[in-house]
C-alpha cells in the first residue's frame, strides 16, 4: 500500500489532526451548505468567508485570538447584510456586494498594517489561503463546540427554514417569522464559514460549503438523504485531498508539496461532474430544489 500511503502517513500527528478537524468542518459545511444552495445564497456564503477574513486580519493586528476575529467578523458581516436588505431577493445581491466590498477594503488595511508592524512574513497568505496542515491540535475543542452549536441551531430551525426556502408565501401563511428565521440562518452560516475559513482557508471554506451540497442536491430525492450524502462527499473530498497533498511531497525530486486546497477542490469538481452525469442518466424531472419530506 505504500504507493497510495506514502511513508509516515499513519504515524503523523499533523495528518491526524488535519483529518479530524477537516472532517468536522466538512460535515458542518455540508449541513449548512444544503440550505445555502437551496436558498440561492451561495454568494452570501462565499462573501462571509472574505468578511470573516477581514475580521481575522483585524484580530491578527489587534493581537486577540484569530478564531474570535474570524467568527466575530463573519457574524458582524451577516448582521450588516441583513440590515442593508439581504432578506429581499432583489436587493440581496447588492447588499452582499456592498458589505463584501467594504470588508475587502478593511482586509487590505489590516493586512497592510500588520505587514508593516510585524516582521512575520506570510501573514497575508496564511490568512487568505490558510492550510489545514498548520492547524494545531489545541483548536480541536473550539472547533468541536462551535460545530456542535451550529449543528444544533440548524436542527432547531430546519423545518421552518426549509419551508421558507421552498415557498415564502406558504411559510408566511403558516405563521413563520421569515425575517427571524433568515437571520438565524445567516448567523449560523457566518459562524460555520468563519470557523472553516480559519481552519482550512478561505478557498476550501467556499468549496466545502457549496460543492458537496450542490452535488448531493443533483442526485438525492429527499432533504435528509441530501444532507447525509453531502456530508459524506465533503468528508471524502477532504480526506482524499489531505492524502494526495501529503503524497505530493514525494512526487517530485524537489520535494515541494502542492497545497491541500488544490486537491480537495479537484475532488469536489470531479464529484460534481459525476453527479451531473448521474442526474442526466436517471432523467428525472428537473426541479430547482428537492422535494420536502413528510409534508401534507
Amino acid at each position: 500500500m505504500t504507493w497510495l500511503f506514502e511513508p509516515g502517513w499513519w504515524a503523523n500527528g499533523t495528518v491526524r489532526t488535519a483529518l479530524v478537524v477537516g472532517g468536522i468542518v466538512a460535515v458542518t459545511s455540508a449541513v449548512v451548505g444544503i440550505f445555502t444552495v437551496m436558498r440561492g445564497q451561495s454568494f452570501a456564503g462565499h462573501a462571509l468567508t472574505d468578511v470573516a477574513t477581514a475580521g481575522g486580519a483585524g484580530a491578527f493586528l489587534a493581537g486577540v485570538g484569530p478564531l474570535l476575529g474570524f467568527v466575530g467578523g463573519g457574524v458582524l458581516g451577516a448582521g450588516a447584510m441583513d440590515a442593508i436588505g439581504v432578506q429581499r431577493v432583489k436587493g440581496r445581491d447588492i447588499a452582499t456586494g456592498v458589505v463584501l466590498g467594504a470588508a475587502m477594503g478593511l482586509a487590505a488595511l489590516f493586512l497592510f498594517l500588520s505587514a508593516r508592524t510585524s516582521s512575520a512574513t506570510g501573514a497575508t497568505q496564511l490568512v487568505l489561503f490558510g492550510s489545514i496542515f498548520t492547524v494545531s491540535p489545541s483548536t480541536l475543542p473550539e472547533v468541536s463546540w462551535l460545530s456542535g452549536a451550529v449543528l444544533v441551531t440548524m436542527a432547531l430551525v430546519a423545518r421552518p427554514l426549509l419551508l421558507s426556502s421552498l415557498s415564502v408565501e406558504l411559510a408566511a401563511a403558516r405563521g413563520i417569522r421569515l425575517r427571524a428565521v433568515g437571520l438565524i440562518f445567516m448567523v449560523a452560516l457566518a459562524v460555520a464559514v468563519g470557523m472553516s475559513a480559519i481552519v482550512i482557508g478561505a478557498i476550501l471554506s467556499t468549496a466545502l460549503l457549496i460543492g458537496p451540497p450542490a452535488s448531493a442536491l443533483r442526485v438525492a430525492r429527499r432533504v435528509g438523504s441530501a444532507v447525509a450524502l453531502a456530508a459524506g462527499l465533503g468528508v471524502l473530498a477532504t480526506w482524499v485531498g489531505v492524502l494526495l497533498a501529503y503524497d505530493s511531497y514525494y512526487w517530485s525530486a524537489s520535494h515541494r508539496s502542492l497545497p491541500v486546497s488544490f486537491f480537495v477542490v479537484v475532488v469536489i469538481v470531479a464529484e460534481y461532474a459525476l453527479a451531473s452525469v448521474l442526474r442526466r442518466r436517471t432523467r428525472r424531472v428537473p426541479t430547482a430544489v428537492v422535494e420536502p419530506e413528510g409534508w401534507t
Binding site: G40, D93, L100, A102, L106, A108, F112, S276
Partner: protein, 266 residues
C-alpha cells in the same frame, strides 16, 4: 502628489474608473455581483500562472479572466447561476494556490496583485490598458440596446427573440476584459468594490438609465481620484480607500433616497 512618477497612476486610474463605472452599472443592473467578484479572483490565478511560466502578467490576467467568464457562462446554463459561479471561483482559486506554491513569487508581488499597487503601472503597460479599455467600451456600446433590454425586462426580451445566453456570455467577456485591466491597478480584491459601490449608488440616485450610467462613471472617477490622493497622502493601500468610499457612497445614496421619499410623501 502630481509629480512625474505619479503621472501613470493618475492616467491608469482614470481609465480604470471610466471602465469600471460603465461595466459596473450593468453588473449592478443585472445582479451579476457574484460573477464580478469571481472573475477578478480567476484573473489573480492567471497572473500567478504567468509568473510561473515567465510570460507577461497581463496575458495571464486576460486569459484567466476570459476562462472564468466562459466557465461561469457555460455552466450556468445547466445549473443554478450562483452555484456555477461559486464552483468556477473555487476552481480558479485552487489553481492559483497551486501556482503560488510551486513558483517563487515575493510576497510584495502577491500583495500588489491582491490589494493593488497604483505606482506599479509602468509606461509600457499604459498602452495595452488603454487599448483593452477602448475595446471593452466599444463592445459595450455595440450591444448596448440588447444588453439594456435583457437587463431590464428579461422575459420581454426573450419573447422578442433576443438571444439572452449570447448577451450574457458577451457581457461576462466584457467584465473579464475590464477586470484584467483593473486588477494591476486596484488589486484583485478591490476591483470588485469599484464595480459595485459607485454604480449601486448611482442607480439609487438617478432613475433614467442613460443618466445613471453617466452618474456611475462620475462617482467611480471621484472614488478613484480621492483614493489615489489619499493613498499617496496617508501611505496606506489604495484598496482600503476604494472599498471604504464605495460603501460610504452607497449608504449615503440610500439616506438621500429615503429623505426624498419622505419629502415627496408629506
Amino acid at each position: 502628489m502630481f509629480s512625474s512618477f505619479m503621472t501613470n497612476a493618475w492616467l491608469s486610474g482614470t481609465i480604470v474608473a471610466l471602465l469600471a463605472g460603465v461595466v459596473g452599472f450593468f453588473v449592478v443592473l443585472r445582479g451579476a455581483s457574484f460573477a464580478a467578484h469571481a472573475i477578478p479572483n480567476g484573473a489573480f490565478a492567471g497572473a500567478a500562472g504567468a509568473y510561473l511560466i515567465g510570460v507577461s502578467p497581463l496575458l495571464g490576467l486576460v486569459s484567466f479572466a476570459l476562462l472564468s467568464a466562459l466557465g461561469i457562462g457555460m455552466t450556468s446554463r445547466r445549473t443554478r447561476n450562483d452555484v456555477a459561479t461559486a464552483l468556477s471561483l473555487v476552481a480558479m482559486l485552487a489553481l492559483g494556490a497551486a501556482f503560488l506554491s510551486v513558483s517563487l513569487i515575493y510576497e510584495p508581488t502577491i500583495n500588489a496583485l491582491l490589494f493593488g499597487e497604483i505606482l506599479g503601472v509602468s509606461s509600457s503597460q499604459l498602452a495595452p490598458v488603454l487599448i483593452l479599455g477602448v475595446v471593452s467600451v466599444g463592445v459595450l456600446a455595440w450591444f448596448y440596446r440588447p444588453l439594456m433590454f435583457t437587463s431590464v425586462a428579461p422575459e420581454l426580451a426573450r419573447a422578442r427573440g433576443v438571444n439572452a445566453t449570447l448577451v450574457d456570455v458577451a457581457f461576462l467577456v466584457v467584465v473579464a476584459l475590464a477586470t484584467a485591466l483593473t486588477v494591476p491597478v486596484v488589486g484583485a480584491l478591490l476591483t470588485f468594490s469599484l464595480m459595485i459601490g459607485p454604480p449601486a449608488a448611482a442607480r439609487i440616485l438617478v432613475a433614467r438609465p442613460g443618466w445613471a450610467v453617466a452618474g456611475s462613471v462620475g462617482l467611480s472617477l471621484v472614488t478613484v481620484w480621492v483614493s489615489i490622493g489619499a493613498s499617496y497622502a496617508f501611505n496606506l493601500p489604495i484598496g482600503f480607500f476604494v472599498g471604504a468610499l464605495g460603501a460610504t457612497l452607497y449608504l449615503g445614496a440610500r439616506v438621500v433616497a429615503r429623505r426624498r421619499v419622505v419629502r415627496s410623501a408629506t
